[in-house]
């Protein structure tokens, strides 16, 4: 449950993003000059390394507080690797590794990508769809060591990157490791594997998506109350009201399921069955909400919402892209379905009721 400190951290994030990453301002920006002061302000507030403990050079805020930051980032459709740096630092922390300053990303970000660490300490493999890789200096990696899973920190410049963008124009690269020597490595904790990382990533993207959905609801309602057609604000028409009510339903579902998943991870010691149910469900349901919600918002805003000039696409295209990170909704649905089927019919309701 959000406590007082979550609010303070989230409010700090909201203040910084309003000052340095306002969607309207960024949308009009001719160049990337806004990036440096934004990152500086976020760093000064200790937000990118929020999930790194004090002892490892971070600001050591709770998981719940960190998720609150991500909700804010979603509300701003933040086109910078804040979530990725938080996640990378969180991954490094699993192995008690220190994190360097500056933006980071992480790998793998897709369920079937695998990276290996050879006996002589070199990373090999390929990670697809790595968000912001070309904008970062470092990458946190979960790899297969000879005996167990290993967490490593590598320099991006040592990897081969292919040019790539997601729907919203944010960098999303294929990162190829060809016998890359990492800066440091340490064993991952027992039981921690790619699936754990995908679940954490899914919870993160779910919380961001819920934030973006909140933003497009406010934006769409405000537009419907202002825009006059047929001599009335369009929000007075029942057809439009019913659509916006459906959008509110999708926002509500996304908020509830992502908040629940974030809470489950914040309360859990390991990535157990409860976290699996919660985080997989969150990814599935928020991805559905992103598709449904985007379509409604675009319908309400009409032509203006389809322009480069309007900010709506900053939210909708990012949400639609986030669906593909850390396992898309079809992947998780199949995983969840198999799990439930294996447990059997009699164990189904007890599982749902246990959360």
């Amino acid at each position: 449950m959000p406590g007082e400190r979550d609010h303070i951290v989230a409010e700090t994030a909201a203040r910084i993003l309003a000052d340095f990453a306002d969607p309207l301002t960024i949308n009009k920006a001719k160049d990337d000059a806004w990036k440096e002061p934004l990152w500086q302000a976020l760093s000064n507030a200790g937000l990118p390394l929020a999930w790194l403990p004090d002892a490892l050079g971070g600001s050591g805020v709770s998981l719940a507080e960190g998720f609150a930051i991500l909700g804010v980032a979603g509300r701003f459709a933040l086109p910078a690797p804040l979530a990725e740096t938080l996640a990378a630092a969180w991954l490094l922390t699993r192995a008690r590794l220190e994190a360097p300053p500056g933006p980071m990303t992480l790998a793998p970000c897709r369920p079937h990508d695998r990276i290996t660490l050879s006996a002589d300490g070199r990373l090999s493999g390929r990670a697809t769809g790595v968000p912001f890789a070309q904008d970062c200096r470092h990458i946190a990696v979960l790899a297969d060591g000879s005996k167990h899973k290993v967490i490593a920190l590598a320099d991006i410049k040592d990897c081969r990157l292919s040019e790539g963008r997601n729907l919203a124009g944010d960098a999303a690269n294929v990162v190829t490791f060809e016998r890359v020597t990492p800066r440091r490595t340490a064993p991952a904790p027992d039981g921690f594997d790619e699936s754990s990382l995908m679940l954490m990533g899914s919870a993160i993207r779910s919380v961001e998506t819920a934030g973006a959905l909140e933003a497009i609801l406010s934006l769409s309602v405000a537009y419907a109350n202002e825009r006059v057609a047929f001599e009335r604000p369009i929000g007075k028409f029942q057809a439009v009201q019913q659509n916006l009510a459906r959008l509110a339903g999708e926002v509500a579902a996304a908020l509830a399921v992502s908040g629940s998943a974030a809470d489950a991870i914040a309360q859990a010691d390991t990535f157990d069955e409860a976290v699996f149910l919660e985080a997989a469900s969150a990814k599935i349901r928020t991805a559905e909400a992103a598709a449904e919600g985007s379509a409604i918002a675009h319908q309400v805003l009409g032509a203006i919402g389809f322009t480069q000039e309007h900010v709506l696409h900053r939210f909708t295209l990012r949400m639609l892209s986030w669906r593909d990170d850390f396992g898309n909704e079809s992947y998780w649905a199949a995983e969840l379905g198999r799990h439930v089927a294996r447990r059997g019919a009699g164990e189904f309701w007890p599982l749902v009721a246990s959360r």
Partner: protein
């Protein structure tokens, strides 16, 4: 304006899980004794007085109400657990459920003390069935168009007119009804209706069954011909029932009964798919699980807000909108996913029977207790659109 929806991740406290164990044991005993069959919804009588009395004896009716009225002063979250376990088991709770969910809370708030002392403990014992008298031949969703008239006479009111689509009136002991006590005003079309407690044994009340498309009775027309209701059965403000209606809605609209009405097809699908479903079955099942989990987390969150004394009207309406649309579509989704299963794998009788039953009751789910369109109107109002 920034729209703000709130769904905190409320977790059920430990006392709820102890209660859940107790409820499951009770239901298992009832099933073993043949009181009802959890796999065959719609078979047997869903109004079971003897069963409701045993539920009452466990203290699970009116369980959140003050002890002086027969309640147990337990939390909304504990009531939530009882409701969801009963619903998932298809337990025949119709006799006491309406009174437990909404009539009792209204009486607690608006009835005179001696009426509360008389009636509430009997609800808690499982002795009383309540019906809701809202719709009329000329007013369904448009509640405030109600015409059935209450005329002031010495010592009470004389009622003339009729209610329609009244579920359970054939067996109900009491009805909470809206009657017109004054004409609407120009400024406020909702003015002029008053809420009454009506004893169904009152002379001048006739109940005529209306068969539903399931082939069973369920609806009724309730005709009032000079029926007398005493003054102390007026609930709340005369002509001002509209002020009382909205705060009850979150209770009525956000409970587990708003997304679990066709739940039974899901375990049966899991049984039919077997432990190693094909990709289509697994993916389809997984989505349904995620959607169900989401609805339940939303619904528990609203229960938590109610427990905290808030009135989450918009959030409650959203739960009912999403929940009823989902439970209405669920049988169709399950039918699709079962379409290519090998015949020897499927218990066709069970799944077929359940799908047939669910397909026929599905249309009502988005109508009863506030249609989808009305709910979305309420949500739109909450968003600041009207």
């Amino acid at each position: 304006m920034t729209v703000s929806l709130s769904f905190d991740p409320i977790r059920l406290p430990p006392e709820c899980e102890a209660l859940r164990t107790e409820v499951r044991a009770f239901l298992a005993e009832e099933i073993a004794a043949g009181t009802f069959d959890p796999h065959h919804p719609g078979q047997g009588d869903s109004y079971n007085r003897a069963f409701s009395r045993r539920v009452g004896a466990k203290g699970w009716i009116g369980m959140t109400w003050p002890k002086q009225y027969g309640g147990r002063e337990r939390s909304q979250l504990e009531r939530y657990v009882v409701t969801e376990e009963f619903r998932v088991a298809n337990a025949p709770a119709n006799l006491h459920f309406v009174a437990d969910r909404q009539s009792g809370p209204i009486l607690l708030k608006y009835a005179p003390e001696h009426v509360k002392i008389d009636i509430l403990p009997r609800i808690c014992r499982g002795d009383l069935c309540f019906a809701i008298g809202m719709s009329e031949p000329g007013s369904g969703s448009d509640l405030f168009a109600a015409k059935t008239k209450a005329t002031k006479i010495d010592g009470g009111w004389r009622i003339n007119g009729s209610k329609i689509w009244t579920t359970g009136a054939q067996i109900a002991d009491y009805m909470l009804a809206l009657f017109r006590t004054s004409p609407p005003t120009k400024e406020n079309r909702r003015h002029g209706l008053t809420q009454f407690l009506v004893d169904m044994k009152t002379p001048g009340i006739a109940v005529n069954p209306i068969y539903q498309m399931t082939g069973k009775p369920g609806f009724n027309e309730v005709v009032f011909a000079d029926a007398f209701v005493p003054d102390d059965h007026v609930l709340g403000e005369i002509d001002g029932a509209w002020k009382q209606a909205t705060s009850e809605l979150a209770y009525e609209r956000s409970g587990p009964e708003r997304f679990l009405d066709t739940f039974y097809v899901l375990p049966e699908l899991i049984r039919a798919l077997g432990p190693e479903p094909d990709l289509r079955g697994a993916e389809g099942l997984g989505r349904l699980v995620a959607q169900l989990h989401t609805l339940r987390r939303m619904s528990v969150s609203v229960a938590g807000m109610l427990q905290a004394g808030k009135e989450p009207v918009v959030e409650g309406s959203i739960v009912k909108d999403l929940g009823t649309v989902w439970e209405q579509k669920l049988p169709g989704r399950v039918r699709d996913l079962a379409a290519f299963l090998k015949p020897e794998r499927v218990n066709h009788t069970a799944l077929g029977d359940q799908l047939a039953f669910a397909a026929v009751i599905a249309p009502k789910l988005t109508i009863q207790g506030g249609t989808t369109e009305i709910l979305r109107g309420i949500i739109a109002r909450g968003l600041g659109l009207r």
